[in-house]
Subunit: 237 residues, 2 copies
Amino acid sequence: MVVDTFAFPGAIPVDYSMAGRCCVVLDVLRATTCMTTALAHGAQRILPVAEVEEALALRAAAEEPVLLCGERGAVRISGFDAGNSPLEFTEEAVRGRTLVMTTTNGTRAILAASGAARILIGCMRNAQATAQRALEAGLPVTLLCAGTAGRYSMEDVLAAGAILAAMGAEADDLGQTARILWEQHKTDPIPLLRHTRHTQRLIALGMEDDVQFCMEPSVTDTVPEYRDGAVKLPGNP
Amino acid sequence: MVVDTFAFPGAIPVDYSMAGRCCVVLDVLRATTCMTTALAHGAQRILPVAEVEEALALRAAAEEPVLLCGERGAVRISGFDAGNSPLEFTEEAVRGRTLVMTTTNGTRAILAASGAARILIGCMRNAQATAQRALEAGLPVTLLCAGTAGRYSMEDVLAAGAILAAMGAEADDLGQTARILWEQHKTDPIPLLRHTRHTQRLIALGMEDDVQFCMEPSVTDTVPEYRDGAVKLPGNP
C-alpha cells in the first residue's frame, strides 16, 4: 500500500477521497505540536476552529471555563489566553481543561481531513508513535502537511519523512523526497530548517526555543485524534 | 531575490501573480524535453494545445504540413504523427517544420504560466543554459514544475534543483528541497527516480531509453521560449 503525502491542503487533487482512510495531519510549527503537548500534559480536549469569531463565541457559550489559544502571523491573538507556543501548554496551564484553538494553517488542515475515517494529529515529537498508530489503523494512509500559507513548508515534509521511515511503508514521490530529507538530517534537523520560511519567521520573532522543542523527534507516545469536532486522546470522553 | 518553485500548476496560490516574472516551465518526462530536442534539431516552432480536438483543427487549418505530436497516459495519440518521446524528434523528422503538440501535464503548465513576462522551456538537458537565461532576464524567477496528474513529481523537482544550483539563487522551501535532491543525486539521478510514479510507468511501457535521455543534465544550450502561442527559439520568427 502506497502512503500518499500532500504538502498542504490545496495540493490534494479535487477528485481525491479521504473516505475510508487514516489521515495524519502535520503542522509541526506549531499547531499539531501544541495539541500533542497540551494533551500529553492533561488537557481534556481541544476544539479547533477556523476563525477568531468562532473561538470567542465558543468561549461565551461554554459551561466551563475554557482556554482560548491561537495565533495569526505566528503572534498571539489579542484577548486570548495563550498563543501558539507549545512551551505555554504546561501541565499547570492545561490539566483537565478544554482548549479552543485557532491557528492559520493547522486548523485548516484538520478541517481538510474531515472526510477521513480516522484523523491522527502528528508532529515531530510523536513521529514514531504516530507511525505505529497509523499502521494499527489498518487503513490506507494519507499524510497531510499543513504547509505555510498554502505553500510547501520544509518542517512538515521532514516530519512526514520521519513517520514514513518509522512506518517502513511505500511512498509516493513527495513521500520519497520526505524520507530522503529525513534520513539525511535526522541526527540534527535544525540546520536544514535554518533558511526555511517559517523557521526564519519564528527566529525573527524570538521563538527559537519553540523551533528546538518542535523538532525533537519521537519523544512522546501521545497521539491525539480528531473526532466529533474535538482533538483528544483515544481514551478521553 | 528568492526564486519561487511550484510542484505543479495547482500548487500556485490563487493570489500569486506571474506578471513581470520570468517563469521556467519544467516537464522533464517528457514534454519540455521533447520541445527542447525538437528545436535543437531545427524545428521551426511548436504550438502547444490542451486538447486533441484543437490539435486536429490546427492541422486542418494549417497552410503548410504540420507534425502532430502528443500523448495521453504516456502513449501516442491515435492518428498522430509522433508521440511524446524525445527520441522521435530527430533532425530528419522535424527540421524546418511546425509541430502541434498536446501532452497531459506539460501543455497545461505552459498555459498556467501564460501571465508571465517571459516563459522559458526548461528540462534537465538544458538546466545550466536555462539558469543562465533566467538570470539574464533580470526579472523575479518562478520555476513551475508540470508534475504528474496534479501531483508532485520527483523528476521535475530534481530538474528545478539543477537549475537553482546553477543559478546560485536563494530558494523557497521547495526549492531548497530540490537543491538537496540535486546535490545528492547529480552524478547519477536515475536510481533516485527508479521508484517514482512517472518513471515506473515509462519503464513498464518499455520507455527506459526515454528516461535515460531525459535525465542527462546540461547537454544542450537550446532554451526555447513560449510567446504569442508558440514555443520557439529566441531567434525564430
